[in-house]
């Protein structure tokens, strides 16, 4: 051991001395190089670089890439780009920007133009970061700035693309909008973001952002004191973003929007075969172009605080009592649990007693002795009060969950709500109160704590229509490169399986067909010529009042307390291709208000299909999925 330790003689052995010599030599060489380089830069090139520093300087100009286009499933353009002329100020050597703005105002005034600077001047002013003074200005202002450039050092016109939303508010809840990167996004995001970048802020613009954003280009230029370009030192071309193809059918979307425009409500159409969203409208809506030139605080405030909430997408964020459309779920639960058979009859005399409480049927005189099929067709409440009582809230909840209710569907849009599927435990946790038997009775007709979004509702019916697959509704079909080649295909995703017996599927779909097509059915207004429509109406009470008082009070009440009208259904009966849900807020009965809107949407779909048989056939083959 002893002889291995040369270091017991101390580190100053010859071997170490040798190494120190090497280190010393290396240091000598490297530091000589550094000093020679310093001499070269400061003494040999010093004069030249000093001159350059005086006329400095080099700036980079960011070149904004073209954002990807957004198209509908048939290739119709939904979002395009337009050139926007911005008045930009490069801080550089002119520090007093306020004086500059005063000068600009005077120049504008001569041409009777208004200065519209409502941006906050950024806190950190860097001489190489341009600041946008005005966005999206007209040609008159462009002329003023261009002709007075000597008086406005550092100010120039920059051309950058802005979004053109071809369908405006019809598509706004889905497409969303873009905006300049916020301070938070700049700090949290990747380093590749820079001040002034435009990002998707909402809807598809946000969900697709990483695909359609593209990559900034840059130009390195040397400028004089007036910020005039002297020398171009290099340019990197921007990379345009990918284009996106949505599952939306613009024609169908238009049909739905025509019907809902001016009302408050939502409509969603899905393809039950793969969960593609064919149409999704929410009314009232907003103009997405407001965000292009930087929305003012007042406009934003107005949009945010309007009682009609135009910024919220009711199809996914609106939570409504499902009303009678919930009876489908209760019926499925009762059949599967063996509580009833198709032949089980209950007697409806117009009301139902539970303890000391009386629950009414919508049909005051009662439906008489009634079995499941007719109870769904005529939407008999008393029948379902009886079934609900036998089932209990937790059994109903179990099946509601199977239908995909109570959880956000996972669509690629922000602010999707979960809805509520109440159970006894849920109430105890939420309200700290035990479950009341009467509450089960309300739930049986979709009138208690239960809440659904229109999207959840149509997705649940779509699962019944396609024989048991609960799809994750999807809006993005594929991403394409600018030459139209597929870059990424989005396959349908299964959220779950609705495990019901074949018999139950048949009984329920026959009943839903009856609602629309049989004598006395509540959904007759949704009937169309080209296809067998199946569906269910619903009328959701906004506030429940004792029945006898209700009629009298309702007349006194404002519109806001009127019932919500619902219709949800699908067509055709055999091999369904489209499922649709319509909700109109405070509008009255589902059968008379929502069903006719659903009819228009279904008509539009089947008329279009009849017109273009080849195209539809093609779509069929590409959409087919083996679950």
């Amino acid at each position: 051991m002893e002889n291995r330790l040369n270091l017991l003689n101390g580190p100053e052995t010859s071997e170490f001395r040798q190494k120190f010599k090497i280190v010393f030599a290396l240091l000598l060489i490297i530091f000589s190089v550094l000093l020679i380089r310093l001499w070269y830069l400061q003494v040999i090139k010093g004069g030249e670089l000093k001159q350059r520093s005086e006329i400095n300087s080099v700036r980079f100009r960011k070149i904004t890439p073209l954002r990807g286009l957004i198209m509908d499933r048939k290739g119709n353009l939904l979002v395009d780009n337009l050139p926007s002329f911005d008045v930009v100020y490069m801080p550089g050597k002119v520090k007093d920007y306020e004086q500059l703005i005063e000068k600009l105002k005077i120049l504008y005034k001569r041409k009777s133009l208004q200065f519209a600077f409502d941006q906050h001047f950024p806190k950190i002013v860097k001489p190489y970061l341009p600041i946008k003074l005005e966005k999206n200005v007209g040609m008159e202002k462009v002329a003023v700035v261009e002709t007075n450039s000597v008086d406005l050092p550092g100010v120039y016109i920059d051309v950058s693309p802005v979004r053109l939303y071809l369908n405006g508010e019809m598509m706004a809840p889905i497409i969303g909008y873009t905006g300049e990167i916020s301070k938070e996004e700049l700090e949290e995001g990747d380093e590749k973001f820079t001040y002034g970048d435009v990002l998707g802020k909402h809807g598809m613009e946000k969900a697709l952002d990483s695909y359609i954003r593209g990559r900034n280009g840059a130009e390195l230029v040397e400028v004089n004191v007036y910020d005039k370009e002297m020398k171009n030192l290099g340019r990197i071309e921007p990379v345009p973003g990918y284009n996106a193809v949505l599952t939306i059918d613009a024609g169908l979307q238009k049909a739905a929007w025509q019907e809902l425009k001016g009302k408050a409500g939502a409509a969603v159409a899905l393809d039950p075969r793969d969960g593609s969203v064919l149409a999704m409208v929410s009314s009232p809506s907003f103009d997405p172009h407001l965000f292009n030139s930087g929305i003012s605080y007042d406009q934003w405030d107005k949009l945010q605080n309007s009682p009609l909430a135009p910024m919220s997408n009711r199809a996914i964020s609106g939570q409504y009592p499902p009303g009678s459309t919930y009876k489908l779920i209760v019926a499925a639960a009762a059949l599967e649990e063996g509580i009833i058979t198709p032949n089980t009859k209950f007697f409806c005399n117009g009301s139902f007693k539970m303890g000391n409480k009386t629950f009414h049927c919508w049909h005051k005189n009662g439906h008489g002795s009634i079995s499941l099929h007719r109870a769904i067709v005529e939407s008999c409440d008393v029948y379902f009060y009886n079934v609900g009582k036998l089932l209990g809230a937790d059994k109903i909840a179990k099946y509601a969950k199977l239908f995909g209710l109570g959880d956000a569907s996972g669509i690629d849009l922000p602010n999707e709500k979960n809805g509520i599927v109440p159970t006894e435990q849920w109430k105890l946790a939420r309200m700290k109160e035990p479950w009341q038997p009467g509450e089960t009775i309300s739930i049986a007709i979709g009138q208690g704590y239960d809440l659904v979004t229109p999207l959840q509702l149509v997705n649940a019916y779509s699962a019944l229509a396609n024989g048991g697959t609960v799809w994750r509704p999807r809006l993005i079909k594929r991403i394409e490169s600018i030459d139209g080649k597929t870059y990424k295909e989005f396959a349908p995703v299964k959220n779950g399986t609705l495990t019901l017996s074949k018999n139950t599927f048949d009984i329920l779909s026959q009943a839903l067909w009856g609602v629309v097509n049989e004598q006395g059915g509540t959904g007759g207004a949704a009937r169309i010529l080209n296809a067998d429509v199946c569906g269910k109406t619903g009328t959701a009470q906004v506030i429940s009042l004792p029945e006898n008082e209700k009629g009298r009070r309702q007349r006194k009440m404002g519109v806001l307390l009127k019932d919500h009208a619902l219709f949800v259904g699908y067509a055709p009966l055999k091999n369904p291709e489209i499922a649709v849900a319509v909700i109109v807020e405070n509008a009255g009965h589902g059968g008379s208000v929502a069903a006719p809107i659903a009819r228009k949407i279904l008509e539009a779909y089947f008329e279009e299909k009849a017109k273009q048989p080849q195209v539809m056939a093609q779509n069929l083959t590409t959409n087919k999925v083996n679950p």
Binding site: R4, E15, L34, L35, R37, L49, E54, E187, E191, A218
Partner: protein, 371 residues
Amino acid sequence: MIFLKFDRRIFQNFDWMLLMLVLSICAIGILNIYSAGYAISERQFPFYLKQIQWIALGLIIMMVIFFIDYRLIIKGAYVIYGIFIALLALVYIYGYTMHGSQRWLAFGGFVFQPSELMKLTIIIVLARYFDDHKSNEPYKLKELFVPFLIVIGPFLLILKQPDLGTALIIMIIFASIIFFVGVNWKSFVIALAGGLILIPIGWLFLKDYQKERLITFFNPENDPLGAGYHIIQSMIAVGSGGFFGKGFLNGSQTQLKFLPEQQTDFVFSVFAEEWGFIGGMVLIIMFISLILWGLKIALHARDLLGTIIAFGITALISWEVIINIGMVLGILPVVGIPLPFLSYGGSAMVSLMTAMGLLMNINVRKFILQR
């Protein structure tokens, strides 16, 4: 017990030379940061005042480290290493993100960068390891496996943040110490090959944008927005200083803030613009003196442990000075490595002062430790 035995000789042989060198460089640093931040009036608490606080804290830590025998400190090397690995892991999970890089731990209004102290920790742990495994022969590859494991963990954690500069420094320190303790030629070649294989594996760890950034590091022309711009502005600043400089607070590049990161990675260009070739040369000579002094301490240390630690610390400072100044002068690619004692930054200052405490510690105990 040698520990805390207040030997008269500790004071008699106090390393005034090292202290004076460090204080002079720090003083230049404060003036320089003051100038760099001169035109920025918005800040309530300017960088130079903060830097003074960090230097003061660093000096206190330096004195504490100085009095505790380094051999005692080294006994806890693996524990210290464990603590900093844990802190790096914490950074990975809870770290505070600035400019897209997750490097900091935030507590009570302070942000702290464990990777800065990891540089010093690596030196201590490797010194301890090679002291425990002394050998007359050059080390073979097999014997270097454990040191490699010690280094690769922090390396990957820091690379993942991502902080290429610090990760690079850790590998360079490793290589320097390996060279110093002596390695079998064959092993060196194999290790080099292994390192090259490791690069694509490390590559897999990175996200797309991090890869993009790394590509830019090695090819600044790729990115005129970032690195390319920095280099051009930095070279104009340095060059325009000329032989005598533009004078304190008179650097136009600096005062007009054409220089990016002028308090941190590009401080040397601020200094060179205002103080010219004369100033730059004086500063470089001061650094050379510090480095030579460190090498002298390494050479004359009383045991291998002290030699390796002193050598490691000197290597750390040398490489940081060389890479940083090389980058500012446009002969090395832009990687985020600070200039010791001049760049603004609390964690780096504390780490450097601790290292200086260790150097003094080793220097003074060559007179005390009797074998």
